[in-house]
């Protein structure tokens, strides 16, 4: 423990979080199979989490799609390849911008929300009350939320991708006339297996990370009201960090398999 003591606080905290999250994930995989299966609560969480992020995801997706198109246009023009603009934007959005942007928004909105809710339940002893009533609090509170984020974040990414393409379509039409059918055949036609599949798979991991980190921070919130704020805050920081790490790994692994 000597080494731990001499480290800067942030690094030490991050390391301790990593350890904690690992055992938390193990607990998750154990309790995942334990009855009861709280289907209603999962659906409720999916609805709540998705609904609450929809507005921000829409705005962000739309504007990013537009801005990217407008920014790329001059460069493409210089190379005389303006016609490739829809394909170019589409690949960038589907592979990278859509998933990462959405996941980061979810880290800010969903992970912190979960951290705050579970944190205040911990601090006001609601989690203890559940445990004592003979219910499996971990199952009811954590397993349901992690399943919900793992399913919801990919849906939000899919939605954000679509909105971003819509933004791009409008931006393209500011400068030239391209009908929707042609735009879509360019945008979708450019996508290959290796653009779509790894990008889709990673969104599930993003969703899982958002859920597990938010739950971990909230479930283990420190006593006292400051614990709630800290839980929400570190949920955002650690979840964002995880998203970048997962993103990096996805690129590496994808290149390993498909070159």
């Amino acid at each position: 423990m000597r080494i731990l003591d001499n480290m800067p606080v942030t690094i030490r905290q991050t390391l301790m979080d990593m350890g904690g999250i690992t055992s938390f994930t193990l607990q998750f995989s154990k309790d995942f199979f334990k009855p009861p299966f709280e289907a209603r609560e999962i659906l409720n969480q999916c609805y709540q989490l998705g609904y609450r992020s929809l507005f921000l995801v829409s705005i962000a997706g739309f504007i990013i799609g537009m801005v990217m198109t407008l920014q790329l246009r001059p460069t493409m023009l210089r190379f005389g390849s303006e016609a490739l603009l829809p394909s170019m934007v589409s690949i960038a959005i589907i592979r990278e911008i859509g998933p990462v942007l959405t996941a980061l928004i979810c880290a800010g909105k969903i992970a912190s929300g979960i951290g705050a809710v579970l944190g205040s339940m911990r601090v006001t002893e609601q989690i203890d009350a559940m445990t004592i009533s003979g219910a499996n609090a971990f199952n009811y509170l954590v397993v349901t939320r992690v399943i919900a984020t793992t399913l919801t974040v990919p849906l939000l990414v899919f939605y954000a991708d679509a909105i971003a393409l819509a933004g791009s379509f409008i931006a393209v039409n500011l400068n030239m006339n391209l009908n929707l059918t042609l735009f879509l055949s360019d945008a979708v036609g450019a996508l290959t297996f290796q653009d779509v599949v790894p990008a889709t798979i990673k969104t599930f991991f993003f969703g899982f990370a958002v859920g597990i980190v938010g739950c971990y921070q909230g479930y283990n919130a420190k006593r006292g009201t400051t614990g709630v704020g800290e839980a929400a805050n570190s949920a955002v920081v650690v979840a964002s960090l995880f998203i970048f790490i997962i993103d990096l790994f996805t690129v590496q692994i994808t290149q390993l398999f498909v070159g």
């Binding site: 205040s120 002893e125 609601q126 009350a129 004592i132 009533s133 003979g134 499996n136 009811y140």
Partner: protein, 251 residues
């Protein structure tokens, strides 16, 4: 009326010996011995931070003690795990300091939650009936569709009490059931505790600073100081102790 000494059987439902617990190297409980008889109301008094909450949390295994034995309802609960632990917890109720109502659920859902998750034999109508019965006990049937955020402090305490009773526990731990309430409401809660003792044959451990609550509910009082039980007796005995430290509680 609370039970007279003759009405309480000398049959212990809780027997604690040498309970020890420390946090960050600081001993909070340092060898606590404690007994609760069947049908008895035992009040524990001690300064804020003396470990009263820690003590009763050990007894429901929310906190793991480092040493000592705990025998409750004729079984050793120190090593209970998994299903057996849940089974045990269903026989005991715990009223948290501040109520700990689930604030994402209505009053009805708060009371339904333990029923749905631990009593397999009940059907929906029976559960509804039980919820209404419990709310009637605490005289808050009208609040059934309210959210915890809409309730006053006293109402919250009473709803929390109803939720504690919904599984019909045989032993109840009350952690400051009347804290933050006016004298009148606090008296109502104290009377409810006595009613529970009379009508449902429950045995209770009550933690409180509220001397009127002690007077109304207690059959016996234990004093917790520096990690051990230093004195015990009835309300009459304790309020006449010479020791100024003890006397201060009864002013």
């Amino acid at each position: 009326m609370k039970k007279s000494p003759e009405q309480i059987k000398m049959e212990p439902v809780i027997e604690v010996r040498g309970l020890k617990k420390s946090f960050n190297g600081e001993a909070i409980l340092n060898g606590v011995d404690l007994k609760l008889m069947k049908g008895e109301n035992l009040v524990i008094i001690g300064k804020s931070g003396s470990g009263k909450s820690v003590l009763i949390k050990c007894l429901v295994r929310l906190i793991e003690p480092e040493e000592g034995s705990m025998k409750v309802l004729d079984q050793d609960i120190t090593k209970l795990e998994g299903r057996n632990l849940n089974e045990y917890r269903r026989n005991v109720g715990f009223l948290f300091q501040g109520g700990a109502l689930y604030d994402s659920m209505t009053v009805r859902q708060n009371l339904m939650f333990p029923l749905k998750r631990s009593v397999k034999k009940m059907n929906k109508e029976e559960m509804e009936e039980r919820v209404h019965e419990m709310l009637k006990n605490v005289k808050l049937e009208d609040a059934i569709d309210k959210w915890p955020g809409e309730l006053s402090g006293g109402m919250k305490n009473r709803i929390a009490l109803a939720r504690t009773l919904v599984l019909q526990p045989r032993i109840i731990f009350y952690d400051e059931p009347t804290s933050g309430l006016d004298a009148l409401t606090s008296k109502e809660i104290s009377n409810l505790i006595v009613e529970m003792q009379e009508n449902h044959q429950v045995s209770s451990v009550i933690i409180t600073h509220d001397i009127s609550c002690v007077k109304i509910t207690s059959n016996r009082i234990n004093i917790l100081k520096e990690g051990t039980i230093v004195d015990e007796g009835t309300y009459e005995e304790m309020s006449n102790r010479e020791d100024p430290w003890i006397n201060a509680f009864f002013k």
